[in-house]
Amino acid sequence: MNGAGPIVDVKQLTVDFATGGGASVRAVAGVDLTLKPGETLALLGESGSGKSVTLRALMRLHPKSARFGGSVNVDGRDILAMPAGDLARYRGKIVSMIFQDPGLALDPVYRVGDQIAEAVMRHEGISRAEARKRALGLFERVRIPSPDRRLDNYPHEMSGGMRQRAMIALALACRPKVLLADEPTTALDATVQIQVLLLLRELQRELGLAVIFVTHDIGVAVEVADRIAVMYGGRIVETGPCADVIRNAAHPYTLGLLASRTGHGAAKGSRLVTIPGSPPDLTNLPPGCSFSPRCPRAIEACRQIVPPLVVTGPGHAAACIRVDAASVALSA
């Protein structure tokens, strides 16, 4: 840690959901992460890895049945202990969020411009005219063509990419310090996705935002992230600087993900290298390392203990007791 302290500091976060009949599912099983101001972290993982649940814990956007453990500090405040009134002021002002589906953030029966102005007025108590001016500025900032006219649109009158931009404008309305992005480009077409990714990168740089970007797509993570944290079975299995994780992956799961990608390396007609088996079932996680049933390097010890993060380079760590074997195999 150098310079400013972290703006987001999550320690040993656990999230359990009740599933009825007294049973519960542990969706997040002890996650540590820190984020400095102006840094972008990509949380990379498959369905059920706990990446979205972790992200939502930073906003406490969970059903009442969820039980949290550990601590979540954002901008010096403990989110898990925050009273409801403070939480409402905190959401949007300190931390705000964008989603895969803009329908979650944009109300279909109000004009988009009014929604943004409303959010600014609520948090900052400024006049409607001024709030409207702010909304216009935001629309220009997110590059919506003819922004003045578009402010009076309803969400359904906009195209998919434009709705996504409008949602970003709404999320930035109160000048938050942290932006949480939950697969914001997954539903978009390729040509639109790259535009939104570039926009997010530009906004992050200009506004000095700290961004946590949840995605299942390595390519997307590489385009936006300074650091990558790979999640599997509710835990972070590898974390490190983006380039380092991509080029010197240490965890067998990360290695498998990189190897099974089509295109680039894979020659047509050849078979793909695959990770066998299916993603883990959270109600029935294997003991020890949850990746061990699918892992080509698993040994008996992997099924006994949950591996701790082992440092493999500057700022780079992997939760695998066979890290040495992995790097040997990689260089071989």
Binding site: G21, T274, P276, G277, S278, P280, T283, N284, R294
Partner: protein
């Protein structure tokens, strides 16, 4: 054969292999409210069936000396009615007709209504539109008014009440059946079946019925309480069951003059109607949530 080698399925789910209805039942049995409601229904239905064996007195034998006696009167645990008959006995016997009048019209309407609805929903197009517009005409009338008007036209009597109540419920069930079927018809698995070359009849039997009958059934259960109340209402107006039959709605009517002298006794038939209908409602609520398959 290497495709198999590199894909050992590792997911083993706890409820693997259990049939759909078995899993619905296992969820339902955990629902305390629904199970209590089911128990209430069962007790009242069993009491009604075995009325001759458990009822303490003759439901039709009255006594001028024991008219309108309060609850707890010796020999009459729940009091006596306006003709001096035992209220407990008459309430037990009354369940026979009342529940019959609640269930049978809904059952008939379920058969007719879901046939119309599934047909309309699956065929689609102008036939669907035509059938649903005709159904809409029935919706223009409040169901109470429609039941009274039909019963009035057909004449008083148990059979005519059942017919008129059936007609009241057919459009409601058909509407729900049509909506569910239209939704299922566009599912990928129905298209996949069509792509396999299956005919309409096979598709409806294999892929549509199983998925639509559940929701329609749940909706229909919730109508049983409505049917009981409407049937009681018809009897109350003299359009349904005739005296001296024991039926809760009719009993409510004949006891209404005693509302000032014996209010508790006069309210008992109403209480029974209330209990049974709310039990049916709570049970159908529980059934609906138990039938929701989670992904």
């Amino acid at each position: 054969m290497s495709a198999i080698a590199d894909s050992p399925p590792v997911v083993v789910l706890a409820q693997a292999g259990k049939g759909y209805w078995a899993s619905v039942w296992s969820r339902l049995i955990k629902d305390k409210v629904a199970m209590t409601a089911l128990a209430v229904i069962l007790v009242i239905v069993l009491a009604a069936i075995f009325a001759p064996y458990i009822a303490p007195a003759d439901p039709f034998k009255g006594s001028m000396l024991r008219r309108l006696k309060p609850i707890g009167f010796p020999g009459y645990p729940l009091g006596g009615d306006e003709l001096g008959r035992d209220m407990l006995t008459r309430l037990i016997y009354g369940g026979r007709l009342s529940i019959f009048m609640g269930v049978l019209p809904v059952l008939c309407a379920f058969v007719v209504g879901s046939s119309i609805g599934i047909f309309a929903g699956y065929v689609g197009g102008w036939i669907n539109t035509l059938l649903m517009r005709i159904i809409d005409v029935f919706f223009a009338f409040p169901s109470v008014l429609l039941a009274i008007a039909l019963s009035g036209a057909l004449g008083a009597g148990i059979l005519n009440s059942i017919v008129s109540l059936t007609i009241v419920f057919v459009p409601q069930i058909a509407r729900v059946a049509e909506a569910v079927t239209t939704q299922i018809r566009t599912r990928d698995y129905v298209e996949a079946a069509r792509v396999s070359g299956a005919g309409a009849f096979t598709i409806v039997r294999m892929h549509v019925l199983g998925n639509v009958l559940g929701p329609i059934f749940v909706f229909s259960t919730s109508l049983i309480s409505v049917s009981m109340i409407l049937a009681a209402g018809l009897s109350f107006l003299g359009l349904g069951v005739k005296p001296p039959e024991a039926e809760w709605g009719l009993m409510l009517n004949t006891l209404r003059t005693a509302i000032y002298s014996q209010p508790l006794v006069a309210a008992l038939p109403g209480l029974m109607i209330f209990m049974v209908s709310i039990s049916f409602n709570l049970f159908s609520d529980g059934l609906r949530s138990a039938m929701e398959v989670k992904q």
